[in-house]
Amino acid sequence: MPDHDLPGRSRPVGFGNRFLLYLELVRMEFVNNLAYRSSYFTGIFNYTIQIGAYFFLWDAIYSGRRAIGGLNKEEMITYVIVAWVARSFYFSNLDRRVAVEIRDGKIALELIRPYSYQMVKYARASGEAFFRILFFAVPAGTAIYFIRPFGLPPDWQAGLLFLLAVTGGFVINSQISMIAGFCAFFTQSTSGIFRAKRVIMDLFSGLLLPISFYPGWARDIIKLFPFQTVSYMPNLIYLGKITGGAVLHVILLQLFWVAFLGLVSVLFWRFAVKHVVIQGG
């Protein structure tokens, strides 16, 4: 896209122009990432090793057993692989990037620009996500399929709805990351918060083990949070365990959380900007 299509400084920025701007950012981030594609190559090995650890573990857990938590062995192995491959798509460093910009004081410059800071970040995260699908998730999934074939969705509708739900998971995960990143307004070192966030996501999104494995009281608590819409529910759609109207329920639930988290992050942002102390430098 040529430069003159970008909104000028003096012109008021209309909705259409703004949309084009964000689209351009998506494209830019995608191209930026192309320069680093080799670093994603090692990422594929990395994920394979991670998945391998859980493969052996689940293989042993299921030895001599039919079904646990509503899933049989093959379904469980598919679950683990799909969960990790999907993560390779929806994962982003949004939290770290936001935190670095806040800590370095770059955020001050962002505040005077005629666009929404959050939207710019989401646009960039989307560009990276597109890149990750093509250069990470798809090759990783294919490579793993050759090492250990896993189940495919029962029909193409389930596959399509899975992609839709994972996209919702990506948005929700990005929003959670954004909110975690904003914590940098209030604390100097955010690594502790990010680690805590990762623990919560690993356990309660269903990445490490299906939510159906938890005891009833824990499931009741997990239900109150958006985490399980990121991994657990999309994975069950993939497996054909959530079908028909229940899928609609998942999508609506995701929409609810997107709206809720969007509101939280906007309010958090406004509050933080009012109380911001830019690091001197």
Binding site: S39, T42, G43, F45, N46, I49, Q50, G52, A53, F56, L57, D59, A60, I61, S63, R65, I68, G69, T187, Q188, S189, S191, G192, I193, R195, A196, R198, V199, D202, L203, L208, L209, F213, Y214, P215
Partner: protein, 273 residues
């Protein structure tokens, strides 16, 4: 001065300087006290992930390939002890290829009359992560108790020897990988991979297939940093041969890796800036 006392003097110097670094470290951390405690707490939380995983799984199954909940917990507990030592002191060998070689930080290190490896370790240590070691001890004691394990007198010195050996394995593997940075000039992304592989050591080797078990025993010997020593400490003597090899493998891997490190230092020419 004889050579003997020269060595003694040198060792004493290193120990004194270690405590100086430690004092500085505590001062910097105490400047941002709240952040420090959040960080330590999040580390505990991180160890709890695997703990939760094990506990939840065992609400659904009585055993994994014949290993009970308490046995699996015991192995994880032992695994955490050398792992905590590694996290506290050796984790940032990760930084060597980028920070020390590529960016040339090593120039400064080499100008000082102190062992370079030692300096890198004390400059980048995070001793608060030793808390993992403490968690490990608690888990071991709890699960050992739960399975009715009665420790013999030699279990205590044996634990020390095994922990030492296991820590040397981490030191060896990561020193080796860090030293590769002298040749490749930059990070190759190998370290995260090996790090993920090291997590395989916290489960019984019997759950892995032949080739994986072979790699974990003889190539990247993380089985000696978790399962084998833990097995002998819970008196599963069928693994005694492997378990007793732990310190040998540990010392061998570190000596080999350290030689490699020294060769790398000789090769290092600085960044020229």
């Amino acid at each position: 001065m004889s050579k003997q006392s020269g060595f003694r003097q040198d060792a004493a110097n290193h120990i004194i300087i270690f405590f100086h670094y430690m004092a500085q470290y505590i001062k910097t951390k105490m400047a941002y006290r709240a952040d420090f405690f959040i960080y330590v707490f999040s580390d505990l939380l991180q160890q709890s992930v695997n703990l939760v995983f094990i506990l939840v799984i065992f609400t659904k199954v009585p055993a994994i390939k014949g290993w009970t909940r308490d046995q699996i917990l015991f192995i994880y507990g032992f695994f955490l002890i050398p792992f905590g030592l590694y996290s506290g002191f050796l984790n940032h060998l990760f930084d060597v290829p980028e920070k020390y070689v590529l960016e040339g930080e090593l120039d400064r290190v080499l100008l000082r009359p102190l062992n370079a490896w030692f300096q890198v370790v004390v400059e980048t240590m995070n001793p608060e992560l030793l808390i993992g070691t403490l968690t490990g001890i608690v888990i071991m004691v709890y699960s050992g108790n739960a399975m009715g394990l009665v420790p013999t007198w030699w279990d205590f010195p044996l634990t020390l020897v095994l922990v030492f050996g296991a820590t040397m394995i981490y030191a060896g593997v990561y020193t080796f990988l860090a030293s590769l940075g002298f040749w490749t000039e930059g990070n190759m992304g190998l370290m995260p991979m090996v790090y993920n592989l090291s997590n395989y050591g916290r489960y019984p080797m019997t759950i892995y297939r032949g080739p994986v078990r072979f790699i974990l025993t003889w190539v990247l010997p993380f089985a000696f940093a978790g399962f084998y020593p833990a097995a002998i400490l819970m008196h599963r003597y069928e693994y005694i041969g492997y378990a007793l090899l732990t310190p040998v493998i540990g010392i061998l891997s570190f000596v080999f890796a350290y030689r490699f490190w020294v060769a790398g230092i000789r090769r290092y020419r600085g960044t020229g800036s």
